[in-house]
């Protein structure tokens, strides 16, 4: 059912509302199979409203997608932004920017109908220095043979595909010899191992690739241009981190504990007020940045990233102090896969906030260099072939 069937001249807002209501009327979520509902949503151009017609959109402003999700969520329909976060928010924009017509057709529909993707960039030797990845992809049989080790992969076990960055030409400088693939995780040679962390959970995985064959049709973007593709993926990640962090709410938790336990300790009172203030200002900033950006994430998201990382750490530290002696205890170190809201677990978890998705140090570099225009540090590795670099 095309957009053309709708009555009269309407504002984009009105069109989006009307289309969504019609989708919900034609396919009542309670009575419709999930995949069928999602396919109908895609065909109605309501998966990514800013995409062109035929690619899950109707070519209106990206911001209007928010309204679609509001209506869908309150009607009990699936919300891909939450359920397939990486595929929806990071995979799809990269496919749109770099994919062939065939790939857009294939991947966007797959994502729109529920396929989940994970990210296969980081490696043990390539953290902050992401371009130092060592996973090798060698041409073979109209495709690529890939071997290497990836790490810090979220949701690997529940995903069908992975956004993979691999080195295709070690003789070029490190940023230049990389290529981006969309890896089928069921391919032979893919092994996923849970990676246990400080909290006891295994929220991430290590992914071992041993002679995995990838058809060339699953290469996204030109050969040796993977760095640029990966950058467009990452810009969307950083933006997402900002959003995600606003939801995690140590401030609310601390307020609840404060009201329950703080008594009249003036030091705790003033820490509580200060924590609230920090959260308040970061939320104001994030809202302002979202309005300003009109959807396109920029280096400003690094401000939120740094701010929320520090807020979370300070917030859960305050929670711990509010817990008194109970801060000595823990709920369970057994990997439970659960979403425990135990403040002690969240306290431990928050230590990673200044590391994951770009360390605070790297964020500060980005702000200084891209926003303030300060010069990069002298680079010893920039123009040398990757194969000649010192690593470790």
């Amino acid at each position: 059912m095309g957009a053309g069937l709708l009555p009269g001249p309407m504002s984009p807002e009105e069109r989006v509302e009307a289309l969504t209501h019609r989708l919900l009327a034609d396919h009542p979520p309670a009575a419709t199979d999930r995949a069928r509902f999602l396919a109908a949503q895609y065909d109605a151009g309501l998966t990514w409203v800013h995409h062109p017609v035929g690619h899950g959109g109707i070519g209106v402003e990206r911001d209007l997608q928010r309204r679609v999700f509001e209506l869908l969520t309150s009607a009990g329909a699936p919300n891909l932004q939450v359920e397939s976060r990486l595929a929806y928010s990071m995979g799809a924009p990269s496919v749109v920017a770099w994919g062939t017509a065939e790939q857009r057709e294939r991947y966007l529909r797959a994502i729109a109908t529920g396929e989940r993707w994970c990210q296969l960039f980081s490696e043990p030797g390539a953290g902050s220095d992401l371009a130092a990845i060592d996973t090798r992809a060698v041409r073979e049989n109209g495709g690529w043979r890939v071997t290497g080790q990836k790490v810090w992969t979220s949701m690997a076990t529940s995903s069908q595909r992975g956004m993979l960055l691999a080195r295709t030409d070690p003789a070029q400088p490190k940023h230049r010899g990389l290529t981006y693939f969309v890896l089928d995780l069921t391919a032979p040679g893919v092994e996923i191992r849970p990676l246990r962390q400080i909290t006891g959970e295994a929220e991430f995985s290590e992914v071992y690739l041993t002679d995995v064959w990838i058809p060339d049709a699953d290469r996204l973007g030109p050969v040796d241009a993977g760095w640029k593709v990966a950058m467009s993926t990452l810009m969307n990640e950083r933006d997402m981190f900002g959003t995600k962090a606003t939801e995690s709410g140590p401030v609310e938790l601390a307020l609840a504990l404060y009201r329950e336990r703080a008594g009249d300790d003036p030091a705790l009172r003033s820490r509580m007020a200060r924590l609230w203030l920090r959260g308040h200002v970061l939320r104001l900033y994030a809202a302002r940045a979202a309005r300003r950006a009109g959807g396109a994430p920029g280096p400003e998201s690094s401000v939120s990233k740094v701010g929320f990382a520090e807020l979370n750490k300070a917030g859960y530290e305050l929670c711990l102090d509010l817990l008194g002696d109970e801060a000595l205890l823990y709920d369970t170190y057994e990997p439970s896969g659960g979403a425990s809201r135990d403040p002690r677990r969240l306290f431990l978890r928050s230590r990673a906030n200044s590391i994951e998705g770009g360390t605070t140090e790297i964020m500060r570099n980005i702000l200084a260099e891209r926003v303030l225009g300060l010069p990069a540090e002298p680079r010893v590795d920039k123009d040398l072939p990757y194969s000649s670099l010192r690593r470790g």
Partner: protein
């Protein structure tokens, strides 16, 4: 900058004008002058752009805009350290008189403020934590239709330059606001040296000084609270403007100052310090914008939004100005370089209209902690 066009125009007009009327050389001329500013220049800002009357109603000679416009002025003045009684006259006095709804007082005061001919100040009983009118030690005694005030106010901003003083004073069981026109017989005004060289304070003594009541008897608490709340947002704008300037100046220095054969801005220690200055000013501006919104909408979260902005902008300006000195090295510590003027202003701005500790306390109370 994603500012609406009309604000952007105001900003660029003002910036051009200030580049001529308040370049650093002029700011420096006034560091040691008695009033701290030049009346003729001050009036020109009023007549040529109408800066002082932006938020004053049209019937009193103003432009009838909101705080949104005035905040642009606050930022640009803060950016240049523009000499003039902006805080005392335009922010505090005009707001207090306008809020009094006393039409006689409004006619007497507002047009003069709007056209730049009247310098006016509020003789607040305290700054960092005591500007509650109830803390005044000045007393008022009736004198026929008029009043006479007696008492001392230790640190009156622009007290020497002021043509008119707005003084909270106690009478019966009430505290009301009065106007006093300083005269040699009943008013003593002794300048006291301020750390912030761009500001002037005076110790004002009133000995049975003739005075006129402004607004309702007993309205001082409310009027002073409203005026200081609005003025705090203007002061937060001064802080954001100053912090932005220090960020720009320091960034520029980091790009052009070479040590160890490369710009110091290429060292991570400098880079990260500047990134923190950037983060601070970005967050401060978000807090400022929100306070402006709350005032202009008369929102229920007004007090919280203003206190939040005052805390964040105070601490940011102070930290940014301190970092500017540090990153300039010895140069930042000299009299010759401008950084110290901003640092001193940041130190004063932090205290004026309520210290961070004071506003944090208000936030805690508002949160019910």
């Amino acid at each position: 900058m994603d500012e609406p066009a009309e604000l952007r125009d105001l900003r660029s007009t003002l910036r051009r004008m200030l580049a001529k009327s308040a370049p650093e050389s002029v700011v420096r001329q006034h560091l040691e002058s008695a009033d701290g500013f030049d009346r003729a220049t001050w009036q020109r800002l009023a007549t040529e752009i109408g800066v002082h009357g932006l938020a004053i109603a049209e019937e009193y000679g103003g432009a009838g805009c909101g705080l949104r416009e005035l905040v642009v002025v606050g930022e640009e003045f803060g950016r240049t350290l523009c000499p003039g009684p902006f805080l005392s006259t335009v922010l505090l006095s005009a707001t207090l008189v306008a809020r009094s709804e006393d039409r006689i007082a409004m006619r007497a005061v507002l047009p003069g403020i709007a056209d730049g001919t009247l310098v006016c100040t509020v003789a607040l009983p305290g700054h960092g934590s005591g500007w509650d009118a109830a803390e005044t030690t000045v007393t008022a005694a009736p004198d026929g239709e008029a009043w006479r005030l007696t008492g001392t106010i230790p640190h009156v901003l622009d007290g020497l330059a002021a043509d008119l003083l707005l003084v909270p004073a106690r009478h019966d069981d009430l505290v009301s606001v009065f106007t006093v026109t300083p005269d040699a017989r009943s008013t003593s005004v002794e300048p006291v040296l301020a750390m912030d060289q761009t500001r002037r304070f005076a110790r004002v003594g009133l000995a049975s000084a003739p005075a006129t009541l402004v607004g309702r008897p007993g309205a001082a608490h409310e009027l002073v609270a409203e005026a200081t709340t609005i003025a705090a947002v203007g002061l937060a704008a001064d802080q954001v403007g100053g912090a932005r300037r220090m960020l720009e100046v320091t960034t520029e220095y980091a790009l052009t100052r070479y040590q160890f054969g490369r710009p110091i801005g290429s060292f991570q220690a400098v880079k990260h310090a500047l990134a923190d200055m950037l983060i601070g000013t970005e967050l401060a501006r978000a807090a400022l914008d929100d306070a402006v919104r709350a005032v202009d909408e008369g929102a229920p979260d007004l007090a919280t939004a203003v206190s939040a902005a005052k805390v964040v902008c105070s601490e940011t300006y102070y930290d940014v100005a301190a970092a500017a000195i540090q990153l300039h090295g010895g140069l930042g510590f000299t009299w010759e370089h401008g950084a110290h003027l901003y640092f001193k202003r940041a130190t004063a701005d932090r205290i004026l209209l309520g210290s961070p500790a004071h506003h944090t306390e208000r936030l805690a109370a508002a949160l019910g902690l």
